[in-house]
């Protein structure tokens, strides 16, 4: 899938390294060293952004570990095996019509910064 150079460049600001990986017909954006919002522990971790519907969600953001955040989250995915690695995700539904990749990523990161 082609996301456009501008979107990809903007997304790169959020992580140390950005690449794409495909598994089971789904293309993920692999964000190595993704920066997390203030108050999160650790302050960064690897993440997989799935910009297409998955597990009943319109999009998903997987983390390489569970994150301690200012608000308790419902981590409903633990040790999901994707591209030969275990991933974690909390229940967070992003409602945005045709978001750009950075908008989608921020909307998922907002999950750490919103009470409900």
């Amino acid at each position: 899938m082609d996301y456009g150079k501008e979107q990809v460049e903007e997304l790169k600001n959020y992580c140390r390294k950005l690449s794409t990986v495909t598994e089971g017909g789904v293309t993920y954006l692999y964000l190595e060293g993704l920066r997390l919002p203030p108050g999160c522990q650790p302050p960064e971790c690897d993440a997989l952004l799935c910009p297409e519907p998955k597990d009943g969600y319109p999009s998903r953001l997987y983390f390489s570990r569970q994150i301690q955040s200012p608000y308790t989250r419902n981590w409903n995915v633990s040790n999901a095996r994707i591209v030969e690695r275990n991933w974690f995700a909390f229940s967070w539904r992003v409602q945005l019509a045709n978001p750009t990749l950075p908008q989608l990523l921020i909307a998922h990161l907002n999950g750490f910064a919103k009470e409900r």
């Binding site: 903007e10 600001n13 959020y14 920066r35 997390l36 919002p37 203030p38 108050g39 969600y57 955040s69 200012p70 608000y71 989250r73 419902n74 409903n76 909390f90 229940s91 967070w92 539904r93 992003v94 409602q95 945005l96 978001p99 950075p102 908008q103 921020i106 909307a107 998922h108 990161l109 907002n110 999950g111 750490f112 910064a113 919103k114 009470e115 409900r116």
Partner: protein, 169 residues
């Protein structure tokens, strides 16, 4: 033969002020700001340009001109300074109490110190129930949890956007 005045290559304005001499036209003016010596290539810089010489900005700092006769003048950012004026020996800066922050690219005045997310969003008529506050701090804009306090020193950059997600269970 040209009869144009030949300017000095470089002049130290403090030396001139302390010796009571007039500052001649020069290609470069050696100026002290907070004790640091900087070089300015015009006799008429703005306050903002002088602040930028020591990596400071008017959204957080004010510039104060010091004269040999002990008077001080606050220089506004857009004010043009005459580096050749008699008695001007240099500048100092002071951290403002009321600083400027930027929300969605617009400037807003706010008191320096700790603030809540709600106080910052209120500047643009928004609240944390409906909007998320993002801060650009040494990287891309990141959401700030409403229960985190934000230390305002001046020049902070924020964005706000409507909430676009929620827990589905």
């Amino acid at each position: 033969m040209s009869n144009e005045a030949i300017s000095e290559p470089e002049i130290d304005i403090r030396e001139m002020a302390e010796s009571g001499r007039e500052v001649p036209d020069a290609q470069l003016y050696r100026v002290r700001i907070d004790g640091r010596v900087v070089r300015v290539d015009t006799a008429h810089p703005t306050g903002e340009i002088l602040l930028s010489k020591i990596d400071k900005r008017p959204c957080a700092f004010e510039l104060i001109a010091e004269f040999v006769h002990c008077d001080n003048d606050v220089i506004e950012p857009e004010e043009i300074v005459d580096l050749r004026q008699r008695g001007l020996k240099g500048f100092i800066t002071a951290h403002k109490e009321i600083v400027t922050i930027f929300i969605n690219k617009d400037p807003y005045k706010i008191e320096r110190g700790d603030h809540t997310v709600a106080q910052i969003l209120a500047k643009v008529g928004q609240n944390p129930d409906a909007y998320v506050l993002l801060e650009e701090k040494g990287g891309p804009p990141m959401p700030v949890p409403p229960n985190q306090r934000i230390e305002i020193c001046g020049c902070e950059i924020f964005y706000s956007q409507p909430h676009s997600g929620g827990s589905s269970s």
